[in-house]
Subunit: 202 residues, 2 copies
């Protein structure tokens, strides 16, 4: 019997996934939760073989952060990320968080159980198209500080406000914004925010 | 027997929802599709009692546009929108498209079958909290032309490019952008894009 923990914040979707896994004779959902925090605490309590985690969940930590914590505190529990975010940067972050599997919500439903079995058996499971995109695609060219500046700019703040929030001078902020626009090949600040948002760099 | 059509683009989620509805003795999923276009053509072929439609789907028409077509061409088929977009503007648009039900993907799973039964029986089903927000919330203050201008600006275009794409003068575009920033109480153009995007006005 493979003991599964399921973390998905949309209650109805979670229930539907439990119904789907209920069709498998060799699997048992031992815990279902709706946040990254609950995924960690429930996993420590139930010690599942596989934790199936959504990425976007409310609370202090998302699915990827929960995966990183589990990799450290419960190494025998393998993590399978199940997400609608089929974007290379997400796969990259998942692999850094030591997840064993990365599956998209638009995969054929019959493949979920197979992926859980393979991950439980110690294999890696990955969407091959997304893996190819993550290998060949563009990496984030921004420094952590530049990301920080752009994140505040994305909220609509003017340079003066960005400067005061990040304890920088207005001139420094203008320099950062100029560098960011150049590095991203953007037409302007708004375009830079759009490019970075679409690439999951913010 | 209530005959149900299910339109949801994420294959695995669709399969899970079918598994969930499979637990109900009085329901039968007669068709499952992954786009708004397919929802319309399959509904015309199978004539289901209820069409359960996601909003965001690939293809020419989304779930709301499909609902509007069905309301006209297949008035006996009731539409229940099932979405993760719990935002007032979406409910407003859904009601304009004459849907009978609007349900969020984070509702308790047991409520889906109940909602389908009530919609099939001619009742309206609506998330009450979202209904309240849609009634009291702010309406889109922008004219269709202003929305058009802001949409191109959101792609990162400078006024000159917006002007040429929309066959306006650069001065007119600047005037529009000024009006938009004022109407939205925004700090700048980027802030206006953020406000309008978060409110689903773009």
């Amino acid at each position: 019997m493979i003991r599964v923990l399921l973390a998905e914040d949309m209650h109805l979707i979670r229930g539907a996934l439990v119904a789907l896994l209920g069709l498998e004779p060799d699997m048992e959902v031992v815990s279902e939760v709706s946040s990254g925090d609950a995924a960690v605490s429930e996993a420590l309590r139930h010690r599942p073989d596989v934790a199936v985690l959504d990425i976007n969940m409310p609370g202090d930590i998302d699915g990827l952060a929960a995966a990183a914590v589990l990799a450290e505190r419960l190494p025998d529990c393998r993590v399978l990320i199940l997400t609608s975010l089929g974007r290379p940067e997400m796969l990259r972050r998942a692999l850094s968080a030591e997840v064993r599997g990365f599956m998209l919500k638009d995969a054929p439903p019959a493949e979920l159980a197979g992926a859980i079995r393979r991950v439980a058996g110690g294999e890696r499971v990955m969407d091959p198209q997304l893996a190819a995109a993550a290998i060949t695609g563009r990496r984030n060219p921004l420094s952590p500080r530049e990301v920080e500046v752009l994140r505040v700019a994305a909220e609509g703040a003017e340079p003066a406000e960005i400067a005061s929030r990040l304890h920088l001078t207005k001139g420094t902020v203008r320099n950062y914004l100029g560098t960011i626009v150049t590095k991203l090949d953007a037409r302007n600040r708004l375009d830079a925010v759009r490019i970075a948002t679409e690439a999951d760099w913010l």
